[in-house]
Symmetry: C2
Subunit: 325 residues, 2 copies
């Protein structure tokens, strides 16, 4: 066991795991572009390199983790398909990965999920089961589903293979822009930033990895500060991808590898999202705007630094733009 694994409370995730994940998923995912913007550099006062996971398959980084988890299964594990619960991008990612591998996918979604998200999952051929929109109902429905199908459960973030997959974006980013000083990444359940931090520190030990969170959903920041995992309590934020609580595995890795977590207001998120659309001409979802907001509002000082920014996804209901409310 490596030093990193020991000190992260026995949770082992290493650069080698992320590299292995990258080799495994490469045929199924996009190598997304890294974009720059002179205007945003000027506004932030530093040099920003945007890793555009909004252009990833299914429109979000979740395709990486899901493909790694699904393709790492043994034939026995995969024999009855895979199952997950999701109200968003992870469901579509598991559905697509299962289709790529040629096995069934079962996705539990809350009955009040937006039609567009249900359609995304169904488009990839997954079987959707609806449940009441509560944690208890979701867990019960998943248990029943697993008992009935014997499918393999792929957690949205608290899963080492999922985290290894999410970290692969950073291998590509650092290949293209090796001399970054900082990487900033949104934090929801913590799966992405855990993988990102392991990969970034593995490739470049001196780099800083910073999480960005809505102030209205700052459970990860409070967890990191207190050293004890604080649970999110139905947080009200427009960044719908960042409402989950940390998992025990993601929290252990974040404590070990993440340098700091900064927070931003809801207004700053909306403003940063709109700014990216208008200046960069790309569509990002509110969760992706959180690290941008941290840079534009000064929560994360950019002056004189070269900063990698993970734009995690671009799935937006274009009928409801937050600045037109």
């Amino acid at each position: 066991m490596s030093d990193a694994a020991r000190s992260a409370g026995g949770v082992s995730l290493t650069l080698a795991d992320v590299r292995e994940a990258h080799a495994r998923i490469r045929p199924y995912i996009h190598r997304t572009p890294v974009m720059t913007s002179a205007t945003l550099d000027e506004l932030a006062g530093g040099q920003l390199y945007f890793k555009c996971e909004n252009f990833q398959k299914i429109g979000a980084f979740k395709a990486r983790g899901a493909h790694n988890a699904v393709f790492a299964l043994t034939p026995q594990e995969a024999a009855h398909g895979v199952a997950t619960h999701s109200s968003g991008n992870h469901g579509a990612a598991v559905a697509l990965a299962a289709r790529s591998r040629g096995i069934p996918a079962y996705v539990v979604m809350p009955s009040n999920v937006a039609a567009v998200k249900k359609e995304a999952v169904a488009r990839y051929g997954a079987q959707v089961t609806f449940c009441e929109p509560s944690l208890a109902a979701r867990e019960r429905t998943v248990e029943q589903l697993l008992a009935a199908t014997h499918a393999y459960f792929v957690h949205p973030y608290n899963d080492l293979r999922v985290m290894a997959g999410q970290g692969t974006s950073v291998l590509e980013l650092l290949e293209e822009v090796p001399d970054l000083d900082v990487i900033v990444c949104p934090v929801g359940g913590g799966g992405q930033i855990a993988g990102v931090a392991v990969a970034a520190k593995g490739v470049k030990p001196g780099i800083r990895v910073i999480g960005a969170e809505p102030a209205a959903a700052d459970d990860a920041r409070r967890s990191l500060q207190s050293g004890t995992r604080v649970m999110a309590n139905d947080p009200q934020t427009i960044a719908d991808g960042l409402r989950a609580s940390l998992g025990d595995l993601s929290f252990a890795l974040i404590r070990e590898h993440v340098d700091d977590i900064v927070t931003v207001s809801e207004a700053a998120i909306v403003s940063a999202m709109r700014r990216v659309w208008e200046v960069m001409k790309i569509v990002i979802e509110p969760s992706s705007a959180v690290p941008v907001a941290a840079l534009l509002e000064g929560a994360l000082p950019a002056a004189g630094r070269r900063i990698g920014v993970i734009l995690s996804g671009g799935n937006v209901d274009t009928d409801r733009l937050p600045w037109l409310k």
Copy 2:
């Protein structure tokens, strides 16, 4: 004089001019990416390669032509700066090009222009003069301005150097995707498609070049069919970049080099624009959606063909999305 120049009524624009323009402007413009989308390929039934001029400097292809025109001036011609009239992207493009060359820029804009467009021009340091929103007032104001400043006039499209610059996008596109069967491009004043057609047929004589126009502003199609330049008469289309009439120079080159012009409905434009935002996660303006609409609605059959699509710009007022009207 080449054969092409002779047969285009003495209007000479050749591949060599476009290559020369490319060498001239390359330090000042972006080499924009070529994007693909499995979902749009499926919807259109062919293979589509999107040249993303929405990511170009000032958010539109106009940066190419303006930089070529401004940097091709002799020191004497450039001594008193450059002037133009524009209610949109060309004004910003001339302003930026003049700033790059270090000479003054004067832009005449209608008094009812959107604040965002005025700001874009002013941001690059141009001096803005407002006029009544009529053709007569515009021409009078430009004449007065030229008399007072002795600036060099750069027409938005009916200018061979501007057209040569606009054609440079196709050199990049065909370098990256050499085996295209067709290139489709929006048609407004005809400057872009003239340059595009000269470049495309120069590099690859067998390629087809198709224009796409709003049915509500189909003056170019009627001009091409009748062989006589038909003027647009205040056309009502959401594609605000495509409301101009052809110039005599652009029309001559279009007759010589463009194979056909197809038209699409306003509803198809809005629907295609939204589809590109949602599927490709990129922001395009209505004018850019016109060729996409032609492919998605069947006006331009795509089956079995490899088609280059010029996405000409991404400057949109995000307060007024056409599908939210």
